[in-house]
Symmetry: C2
Subunit: 336 residues, 2 copies
């Protein structure tokens, strides 16, 4: 099955369970949560604009099938990882001050910071509740791993925030941050189905490593889109990451080189507050000229290669390995 | 052992484990967390002003002893429940706009909203991590119960927030909100030691019911202090709850009566934004005259009686039952 079909099949399998989980929230929490997932309008009427692409749930289902189990075995893990991912989006949008996501106002911007804090908290707890409703040994392992992945994700977000006040972020620090912020949860997603199917550690670890590397590739692409992405496609303002002085991969790669372009970039970034539109355009050009964009794309492709390599020589269902590889290529090659 | 000694002993037993858990956070998260717990100053130097009174950890240890286990058996539960409680304080202070807690600036007010959001998230995940580090059957049950109690606590906080926009909050709605917001986690604290000791359902349920009722009594006292408490004792601004138009128990009791005092209260509360100092004084007097203060104290004592009743006729260690009862009386009778 090609990647778009894998994503669509996962959406059909997982969304009813995800919606049933979110329906457990009280009305005051259900409304902002349902709005965030694209099911409802701000006033509670049906919106149906659709959630994100559902990469994590898709990985969760494929990871069950990769060890010979039916896709359905991965559903509780798919729901749980999607809840954690979306709790983090709701809170990260507050932290980053982002007013738009998926072409709509973010939860804090539509409902206020208070409702965004509490509804994010509710999704955070709900993720663990979904898994522990039926605490089989496999689900307990899946919960423990999710707790660890969530802790890593939060640490990564904290490091990303701390970078805003630092001008000495090098490539290693940036990659370590992105491994936590994005890699950990994608590694979880790409292995939770196998965990729920009771697969052995070798196969679980290989799938997790695949997801982690895919996460680094995915984040590198996201970093390119965060600077040069088309707002009509990304659903976010152009140059967002630069405006907020983020030390994403293209920036870290230029800073790391320590040449005159690094000095110039450092000088603009040394100020306070958001960058002006003119500075954003200037800095984007500077990074591109210094090779930050091209080298980030190379970085993405290298992590993609490593991801695909991890699936070789492991006893996994061959057709599913092809689907996993296709999915990884699809999300990494998007929009270039 | 008298209540202050129980609290002090629990602090000595639990604080090292709590600090070891918080030390697992990366430096960017450890600083605001350590500040919140009163261990560190804003700049990271030792503060040692001390955390809260540690009611929940104390209950956790006593609940292990109540079923004949050593207090130490309750420590992981004590740490986990204290982490959840404190994650909620950090986030609730953002939501309520409270600038002071325990005579110090709140985390959001000292570090900014962004750091308060992410460090609260970190404490939230850490609570489950502490329990699942060693996923014995008892700890898995303790985790599942904590997830459920946390979900209830968040729903209660959401209801409390929704009350701000409502003028029709009656006694039943207010008590249901407080049972979720405060009762659920105190019920958990008062039973988790017994869960970790592998006690039977009858004893666990009795201890949980004790904690839930104690929570309602405790919250009623808190509601009185939230209006008439001495700021030098409470560590919060005087009349805080009224200023924020909260529908706490004294307010709900007056609104519920539906008489002329209710109409007058409703009229003041019907406006927008924070109440003025003059309005706060006027409304406090109005509620007191209408009997809202006295009836809240009566409500607190009734829940305290119910709490003590739940411990009768259950097979628990008698000396510990006396300590639990003493602790409940101590926290409910404080500051009247």
């Amino acid at each position: 099955m090609a990647a778009p079909d894998c994503l669509e099949r996962a959406r059909l399998l997982v969304e009813p369970a995800l919606e049933a989980a979110v329906d457990r929230l009280c009305a005051d929490l259900r409304l902002p949560a349902g709005y965030h997932f694209g099911w409802d309008e701000h006033n509670g009427s049906p919106a149906g604009v659709g959630a994100g692409k559902g990469l994590r749930p898709t990985l969760a289902l494929l990871s069950a099938e990769a060890v010979g189990a039916p896709a359905e075995v991965g559903v509780p893990g798919a729901v749980a990882v999607e809840l954690v991912h979306n709790f983090s989006l709701v809170h990260d949008d507050i932290i980053d001050g982002d007013t738009e996501r998926r072409h709509r106002a973010t939860v804090w911007s539509a409902f206020g910071v208070d409702d965004a804090v509490i509804s994010g908290d509710a999704l955070h707890t709900l993720a663990f509740q979904v898994l522990l409703d039926d605490p089989t040994p496999e689900r307990v392992v899946a919960t423990t791993r999710l707790v660890d992945a969530t802790a890593a994700m939060i640490a990564g977000q904290a490091a990303d925030m701390a970078f805003d006040d630092r001008l000495d972020v090098d490539l290693a620090a940036c990659l370590a941050m992105e491994a936590d912020k994005t890699g950990a949860l994608l590694g979880y997603a790409a292995s939770v189905g196998a965990v729920l199917a009771g697969a052995d550690t070798t196969r679980v670890n290989a799938l997790e490593a695949f997801g982690q590397e895919m996460g680094l590739a995915f984040q590198a692409v996201d970093d390119v889109l965060g600077i040069w992405g088309d707002p009509t496609v990304t659903g976010k303002a152009a140059g967002n990451d630069l405006r907020e002085r983020k030390k994403s991969l293209p920036v870290a790669l230029v800073l790391d080189a320590g040449d005159s372009a690094a000095d110039e970039l450092r000088a603009v970034y040394a100020g306070d507050g958001d960058l002006s539109d003119a500075d954003v355009i200037r800095v984007a050009a500077l990074i591109e000229e210094a090779g930050g964009r091209d080298r980030t794309v190379v970085e993405a492709r290298q992590h993609l290669d490593t991801a695909l390599d991890t699936l070789g020589g492991v006893d996994l269902v061959e057709t599913v390995v092809v689907e996993l590889a296709g999915l990884a290529c699809f999300v990494v090659e998007r929009d270039f």
